[in-house]
Amino acid sequence: MVAIFLPVLLSPVAFILGRKKGIQLVTWFSFGVLAISTCFLMAPILSNGNDNPVYEESYSWSQFGNFGLRLDGLSIPFAIIINILCTVLALYSKPYMLHKIQEDADAQFGGHPSDHGNRPTSSGSGFEHIASSSSSSSSSSPSTQTDIESTSQMTTLVEKESYVRTQTGLYFALYLTFSMGMLGTVLATNLIEFYVFFELMLVPAFLMVAFYGYGAKRRIALMFLFWTHVGAVILLLGLLAMGFFAGGFDYVTVKENASKIPVEWMSLIIFSLVIGLGVKLAAFGLHIWLPYAHSEAPTPISALLSPAMIGIGAYGLLRLWMDLLTGDYTQYSIYINIWGLITMIYGGAMALMQDDIKRVLAYSSISQMGYILFGLGSESVLGISGATLIYVSHGLGKALLFMMAGSIILQTGTRSMSQLGGLAGKMPYTAVLAMIGGLTIIGIPPTSGFMSEWITFNGALQSGIEHAETIRVVVFALGLVATLLTAGYILWMYKRVFFGKIPERLIHVKDSNRYITATMAFLAAMTLIVGVYPDMFLVPITGYITNMFSSTPEVLPLPTADGSGAGNGDGGVEGVTNVTSSSSTQPSQVADAISAYAELHSVILSENPNRLNVYQQSLLYYYDPNLAGNRGIDNSVGEDAGTGAEAKGGSA
């Protein structure tokens, strides 16, 4: 409870602090608040041990049911990543937003970059700043009388100072509200509560884009608001329908009474959930708001919007659909899978076409949401767990890349790649940390990207193979090829920004200050740790998801080593063999098959010990029941396999 409401309660304080005391204090204040909130979040997880941590608070609310907050295996990864990103980016915001707000102030009041004393960065080289075209720029007409000029300058300075302070205060107030909205969404235990938080994170995000964005910021912010709000309303219709039919809005009630929802309504509800959350996920076809919003938002906000916020759509799908309405999941999963594939490839292909770093990253986010959808549609515990882990790794990796973009904007004043190049030597820290972020997105070990991707793809292939569905195997293969596309656009972006010749005007660029590099380093360390040792996220996720689908046999459990009897505890013990159980390869039969084969082989060798043609023929006979029968060989395995395949074909 405290974890959530501390930020929102203190956000007015942040505003006041910002106005009165300036940015230094308010940054650390926000950071402190969020850090405390993170600690509160971590406490129940750590104290409960790692196995299946659940922490719940519940308060009676209105006729909608209870207002509760719940941390369980599903919400833990989302909640932790959201809070870590918010905390870290609060610090990152300081130099960036100060720079941005002062730039806006310059545009508003006129004046020169050299006017303000406490410029955070060393970018005094006077590069052309990104034009914030919509802001009215009033050019003070030069006056001949010096005293009038100086007084007007004085007033401008004072006004500007107060403008900067108000704006920073406002920024951090909104920032805190925003973080609380995101956290609340994933902790909610009630449909209405979910919706309220869902909208609550939208409003501050809208305001921050509108106030602090680039380009046609008001227009883009409105577009962002319209798209996601319309999505949210569609979602709301689904939620209301769910609640009415189930007789209550609490997750518990809905889950218990999910079977009461009429069948004809079910598909409508799922449709509205998928469309509503699909907008948030920016899946293919519903994605157009994202490149605008993400590239024109101020960079710390892009870094939050992109990995943390849009991924909440995935959380919604997992929680509202797969968890609460488990039954119908398998019917539609293949479409989700394919939609994910299309999103993945489309986002990647479009990312290749961009010149603006932030737009590359925005399309890359679309592509990554495709990965998540792909995993969610994979119909196996492995794939769904992997998709959740992709949220984690994308959160860390994409935040790193957006922070890189911010660092470059701060230092060079441009984000167009055609004007950049060769920065690796000038900004070594940014370059190294961005590389780690890039590798996370590509999915190269030892970053968390690889961990999440292999698990996802393995799950997708598993369901393809074991349900014997060709289409899933094809989708899987194309998905793997799409990872090449991902590698392509990341590396190409990296090459254009950091490699090659340095344009002349960038020769004096320096690396960003510690607020930026240290926060990036923290996230880079996180992604490496999760990549090598993913248990802290993976154990709760797989545990929860295995339970979630324990009554749905179509959703494949985790593969386990047969016979070794390794204790995976619940659900997954029987492993692969129970799905193909009709072929029932018991150990004795295995031994039989092997000895039968050995017998056959010794026969063949004794007849004509000479070589391979015979040897190969022997193998042929072995598989052809007729021929094998002629030779008097027990062909039980071959037959069994045949029936097994048939049985599976039937079940699929």
Partner: protein
């Protein structure tokens, strides 16, 4: 197994094995911390770490000779029940020593080669990272951990190939303005790094798919576990998935080892510093693919009950064709490093062919030994040649052979060592390791009994002829004849060609010496290797030496006839020289080397004769343009897809999808205009419409 050790965690000698791959990573992590110190401190630290790793590797050699192994595991991903572990069996021990010692020598050489380079921190970081990843590949006991190392070498090669990221013209590879089918055939370092990364990644995704297939059925990635319980293989083969899975795994090796469909990256990879090329070609990266096949080959052969012949056929033919393809291209290339690169691809093809042949014959160990013998001898002479080439580049300042000539008078040591290593590459009879390893491949092919053994053998001999020829061509163009125009110009400017420093020539001198030393004791060496592998295959995979495939009867399950084969082995006392193979190797060296000698060393014949006939010129052009494979690759995977994306971007994303917003806006505003038009504010109009409406209603009602 005589003294198998299965340890949990870090105990006993297992700690050595863990440290072999961890030490380079620790060293790499130290590099950024030391960046502000003097370059020498960085150099010594890096070399020290690689030496420590190499010494630890050497402590394992007794284990290999007594056919024992170390297997140690720790918990890793408990959610999926996966363990991390190391497995040092004879195969891994031999490989880890090759990697460790050769990289150590290359490290020493680097100290001289990169003297005065400003980015030493980055260089050493990635070099240490490189060998750490390679050792991880070699020593890990499961596929997933192996894949960590696998991508690690990919990443390190990306970083090191593009080491000179500022893309200066002198670091490019290829002749400028050389186009083939509209594709530029020269590349900048960063371009080359990206190409290497993406092409090997294309192999890696195949490997991943293969790994997934096996994991789905077996629930484990561990090599030991896969051998111990084979029910997974029975299920997979019952669905015809075993061979595809194996071939997909081999796809990873194709990418890393630059075999046929994915061979093009290897040549551009020459943009890195020469020490990096030496490391990539001799000790790490391309050898990783061969090692992978060596790792999984016996496993699948032991599963021979499920007819893995296709898998081994694929390996053998991919290897043979690659060997031929790249050898032909090496004949005409004017850049010394690229000639060596082609040669590596071609020699790796030999190794693959040998490993494939192993699986196709009943005598698995013959081909297996041949493949690894070739790997070892290639590692020695190719590292030496690359380092020698680096010394040449250092002295001459140009990567083109045509800019050299007559250098032997000024660089005596480099000349002698490169000549020795070159002779080994060419396969000079009886005294070079290259001769014996090639000979063992020929012998294994001839004796395999595989249906198409003769065509394979023919390809192998032709490749051997070409190898000898291009080796002599390279040596002749660099060291013999008259100084080139470039050298004369340099002389005029006062830059004289001179011998490189000691720290550079000693390492490749040692390697060149080693390749001759092994050549002199060729037969005993091969026999020892043969025995080690025979024992290893027998104990670990139950592949008895005398051919039969009762190998699938695993440890613990002795099949019928196991005793017989053992007797047979003793009776025959295997290992003998195949004289046909020896004769073929000698003839191949004689023909290829003789032609090369006449053209480029004695200069009795003029190579210009090929420009006289249209046919030879066409062939020359075809080879020089790399069989147009590079161009086809670019058109197919870069230019056409990009064009399609561009079209989608222009006409779909920017027009239709992006048009949703303005269209919505437009429709809303036009709707409001229509509505506005109705709101005239004139009472008469309203009354008129009202009246008309009433009349219509009345008429409707009346009718």
């Amino acid at each position: 197994m005589t003294t198998a050790e299965g340890v949990m965690g870090f105990q006993g000698i297992a700690i050595n094995v863990w440290l072999i791959w961890m030490l380079p990573f620790i060293g790499a992590a130290l590099m950024p911390a030391l960046r502000r110190n003097k370059p020498n401190l960085l150099n010594y630290t890096a070399v020290g770490f690689s030496l420590a790793s190499a010494i630890l590797a050497a402590t394992l050699i007794p284990l290999a000779l007594t056919d024992s192994e170390v297997h140690s595991q720790i918990n890793w991903i408990s959610a999926l029940n996966l363990d991390a572990g190391i497995l040092a069996d004879p195969l891994a021990i031999i490989m880890t020593n090759v990697v460790a010692w050769i990289s150590f020598l290359i490290f020493v050489y680097s100290v001289g080669y990169l003297h005065g380079e400003r980015d030493l921190t980055r260089y050493w970081f990635f070099m240490l990272f490189f060998i750490g990843s390679m050792q991880l590949i070699v020593l890990s006991d499961n596929l997933l951990m192996l894949f960590f190392g696998w991508e690690g070498v990919g990443l390190a090669s990306y970083a090191l190939i593009g080491f000179w990221y500022y893309d200066k013209k002198k670091d490019y590879v290829g002749r400028e303005r050389h186009m083939a089918l509209g594709i530029p055939m020269w590349a900048s370092p960063t371009h080359a790094g990206m190409k290497a990364f993406l092409m090997t990644k294309a192999g890696d995704i195949m490997m991943l798919a293969g790994m997934f297939l096996i994991f789905i059925y077996a629930g484990t990635f561990g090599f030991k576990e896969l051998v111990a319980d084979q029910s997974w293989a029975i299920e997979m083969s019952s669905q015809n998935l075993l061979v595809p899975a194996a071939i997909l795994l081999f796809g990873g090796a194709v990418g890393k080892s630059a075999q046929l469909p994915l061979n093009e990256w290897l040549l551009e990879a020459m943009t890195g510093p020469t020490s990096v090329s030496a490391l990539i070609h001799a000790a790490t990266m391309v050898k990783a693919g061969v090692f992978l096949v060596g790792r999984i080959g016996p496993l699948f052969f032991a599963l021979a009950a499920f007819d893995m012949a296709q898998f081994f056929e694929v390996i053998a033919w991919v290897g043979a064709i690659t060997a031929f393809l790249l050898a032909t291209q090496a004949l005409v290339n004017p850049e010394i490093k690229k000639v060596l690169a082609y040669s590596t691809g071609s020699q790796i093809g030999y190794m693959m062919m040998a490993l494939g042949i192993a699986g196709l014959s009943t005598q698995f160990v013959d081909g297996y030994t041949a493949g690894f013998f070739q790997l070892i001898s290639h590692a020695l002479f190719k590292a030496s040649l690359f380092m020698g080439a680096g010394a040449l580049l250092h002295a001459v300042g140009s990567r083109f052979l045509t800019d050299m000539g007559g250098v032997r008078k000024h660089m005596k040591k480099t000349y002698i060592f490169m000549l020795l290593a070159g002779l080994s590459l060419a396969g000079a009879p009886l005294v070079t390791s290259g001769f014996w390893s090639k000979d063992s491949i020929f012998a294994a092919t001839l004796e395999s009994g595989y249906t198409y053994a003769i065509p394979l053998f023919a390809i192998a001999v032709i490749v051997a002829i070409m190898t000898a020829f291009y080796t002599f061509r390279m040596l002749g163009m660099a060291f013999f004849g008259d100084p080139s125009k470039h050298l004369k110009e340099m002389d005029a400017k006062g830059h004289h060609v001179h011998e490189v420093s000691k720290v550079m020539w000693v390492p490749f001198g040692i390697l060149a010496g080693a390749t001759i030393a092994i050549g002199l004791i060729g037969i005993p060496f091969e026999e020892e290797l043969h025995n080690v592998f025979a024992a290893y295959l027998d104990t670990s995979f139950g592949i008895p030496e005398e051919g039969s495939t009762q190998g699938e009867v695993m440890t613990g399950q002795q099949g019928p006839g196991g005793d017989e084969s053992e007797e047979e082995r003793e009776v025959e006392g295997r290992f003998e020289i195949n004289y046909a193979a020896v004769a073929a190797s000698v003839i191949a060296f004689g023909v290829g080397g003789g032609l090369g000698y006449l053209f480029y060393i004695a200069r009795k014949l003029n190579p210009e004769i090929i420009s006289k006939s249209i046919v030879t010129r066409a062939i020359w052009k075809f080879l020089y343009n790399r069989w147009y494979l590079n161009s086809i690759l670019y058109w197919g995977t870069v230019i056409i897809p990009m064009l399609i994306y561009r079209i989608i971007w222009r006409y779909f994303e920017s027009t239709i999808i992006d048009g949703i917003n303005p269209a919505f806006q437009f429709s809303m505003s036009s709707f409001s205009k229509i509505v506005k038009a109705g709101q005239t504010g004139i009472t008469q109009t309203y009354l008129f419409v009202f009246g008309v409406g009433i009349m219509i209603l009345v008429m409707l009602l009346l009718i």
